[in-house]
Amino acid sequence: MAHPTTGKRFVALSAAVALGFGGALIAGPASAEPTTDLKAVAAEAFTTSDNIAAIGHGEDGTIVAQVVAEEKDSADVETALEPVSAFAEETTGEELVVQEVASNYSSDPVSAAGNAADAEDYEAHDDVVAGAGYVVFNGDQGGHCSIGFPATDADGNDAIITAGHCSDVGGEVYVERPSTANAFTDTYETAEWDETRKLGTFTHSQYGPDVFEDVNNESDLDPKTMQDFAVITVDESSGFNLIGEAATWSEESGGEDNLAADTTPITGVHDVTTDDIGKEVFHSGRTTGKTSGNIGLDEAYSDMVIGGIVDGYAPVADDAGNDYMVYGFASETPVGGGDSGGTVMLGDKAVGVVSGGIDAEGDLPALLWTAELAEGLTHLPGDYEIKTSEGSDPSPTATETADPTTPAPTPTETEDPVVDAELAVDPQEITAERFVAADEEQADAEDRGVTYTVEGAEPGSEVVFDTFAAGDDEASKSITVAADEDGVASSRIWGLTSADAEAYIGDYDVVATTEDETLEGSFSVVAGEDDGGEGGEDLPRTGSTVGPLAAGAAGLVALGGALVYVARRRQA
C-alpha cells in the first residue's frame, strides 16, 4: 500500500461505529453516483464486522472489499460482506473483489488514499502560488498540508518551502484542487488532487529534533535544533510554474481552480522582532483560506512560549505525541488541520510557515505558532531564495531589515517608528482628457489619472483611500491598500472612458485613513485638451494591482462615469 491507487476509493473504517457516533464515516468523494448506494451497504458491513478494512471502487469498475486476512473466513466477515456482494453483482455484474490486508485501518489509519480517483477529471493549473494545498505521500502515509513559499535554490532550480512536520524526506507531493479544499467546502471529504503530475519530492525536512523534555532552562534553547522547515524540490519536468505571490483563497480564484488568479504580493523576507508585536499578520492555507491576527499572545497562553512571543520557542505536539520545540513567533490567527506548512505574511513580506495551532476556546483566541522564515532559511541545506512578485527585488539581501537602494525618503524601521503620515495627491489639477483611461494598462503606461500616496504609515497596516465628488457626503470610490515595508501605500484613480471625459470635470476631496490618523487632500479635473503633461514626481510602477474595482461610484454614476482605482506599491 505504498501509494494511492487511482480508481480505488477507500472507505475508512471508522471508530464511529465502535464508539457509537451513530453511523459510519465514509471518506469518499461527493461525486460519483453509485457511491451513495455503496455508502449504505458499506455502513452496514462495518457495523456488522470490525474486520472489514475498507470498501470501495476498484479498477475496471469492480467493487472491492479489504478484509483483515486473519479473519477473512470468520462468520461475521461473511455476514458483513453479504450485502456488499449483492450490491456488487447488482450494479457491476461482477463478483465482489475481496482483498486481504494485514489489519484494518484502525491500526493503520493513515490511508489518505481515495479521492485521487477523480484525478482523471482534474488537471492542476500550471501556476502554483504560496498558500496552495498539496497532498503528500510517504510510504503508506499520506496527508494534506499547504505550500509555504515558492523558492529557488542556488542553481536557480524551483523549490517550495513548507513545514518539516508535513513529511519526512522522500514524500511525494501532488497539487490539490483548490475548489475541493476545506477553505471552500468546509469538509475534508471532498479533497481531490492531480495525481497525474507530481509537483515534487521532499528533499529536506527538519522538525525539532529537540523536544520539550530536553529544555530545562533558557541555555537549552537553540534555533538550530528547534526548526520546522522542509524543502520540496520541484520536479522540473512537471511543467508547473511557481509564482512568488500568496493565494487569497477568494471565491473567484477557487471557482476557477486557479489560485494564481487572485493573490497578494510577496516582496521579500522580513525578520520578525519585538518591534512587530501588535502588527497584523495573515496566513494562507488550504483549510481556513486567508485568516489574520495580531502578533501577540493572550496572557493565559503566555507560559506556553519560552523566551519571548517573537524569537521564542514553543513545543508543538505531532502525530506521535512528541513535543518538538520550534523557533518562531505567536499570533492570534485562526488556523486548522491542513494549514500546516502554509504561508504567513506581514504585509507583503514573507515571515514564516504554519507550524502549530490552538483552537479558540471560550474567551481565549485561536493561536498560531509560526516557524520563522528569516531564521529557518539559514538552517536549510544550501542557499534558498524566496520567490517574489514580478518587479520586486529577489535578491537574498531582501532579508535584511532595510533596503539601502529604496529611494523613498522614509526613515528605516529602526530609526523612528513614530512618524506622521503624509498624503500626496498628484497632480492636483488635471485635464479631463488626461484623467480618463480605457483601462489600467493605459492608465499606468501613460500616467493617466491621479495618484494618491501615503508615506509614513505603519508597515503592513491598511490605508483606506476615499474619494468624494465635491458636495457629496458619500464616497464615490473607496479602496484599501496595505502599506509596504517602508510604510508607503499608493493608489491610482482614473475615469472610465465609458463616459465623456467632460463628465468628470469638477473638484474632488480625498481622504486617506491610516491606523491612527485621517489625512485630507484634493484634486480638480478641469476642461482642456490632452497636453501630454507629466504628473510631477514619477513613482516607479509595478504590476501589483487590486483593481479595477467594480463600478459603484455613486457620485459619478450620476454623471455617467465611473472611477477606477489601482493600488500601487513602491518598487523595493
Partner: protein
C-alpha cells in the same frame, strides 16, 4: 510520591482502538520542588495524539476526572483518519476505561488503559 504509583486515577497511558496509534498519557504533576515547563503547580503534563496531530498540553486532576489545557499541535489533515480525539477537553477515569469529553461536555469516545 515519585514516579511509581499513580497519585490520580487518570494518570498513565490510555490508548484508542481506532486509530490504534492514538493515545493520551497523563504524566507527572508539577510540585513546588519540581515544576513542569509551561505548567503551574498542581498541573500535570499531557502527551498524546489523535493519529494525525498531537494532543498535548497540561491537565488538572480532580478526583477521577481531569480538565485539559491544550498546547500547540501540528496542523496536518489525514484523510481516512478519524481524529475524534482532537476535540478532547476533559476526561473521567472509570477503572480501565477513560471516558473522553469535548468542550461541550459530550462524551466523544473511550480509551482503555495501556498495559504497563
Amino acid at each position: 510520591m515519585t514516579n511509581s504509583a499513580h497519585q490520580h486515577p487518570v494518570q498513565g497511558r490510555w490508548v484508542a482502538s481506532n486509530p490504534a496509534n492514538a493515545f493520551l498519557e497523563f504524566g507527572r504533576i508539577a510540585t513546588e520542588e519540581q515544576g513542569i515547563l509551561g505548567g503551574e503547580v498542581g498541573e500535570g503534563i499531557l502527551k498524546g495524539t489523535d493519529g494525525c496531530n498531537g494532543v498535548g498540553g497540561w491537565y488538572t486532576p480532580d478526583g477521577d476526572t481531569a480538565t485539559i489545557r491544550r498546547g500547540f499541535s501540528t496542523l496536518k489533515a489525514c484523510i481516512g483518519v478519524d481524529t475524534w480525539l482532537a476535540s478532547t477537553s476533559s476526561v473521567r477515569a472509570d477503572g480501565d476505561v477513560l471516558h473522553v469529553f469535548n468542550r461541550a461536555g459530550e462524551e466523544i469516545g473511550t480509551l482503555r488503559r495501556a498495559d504497563e
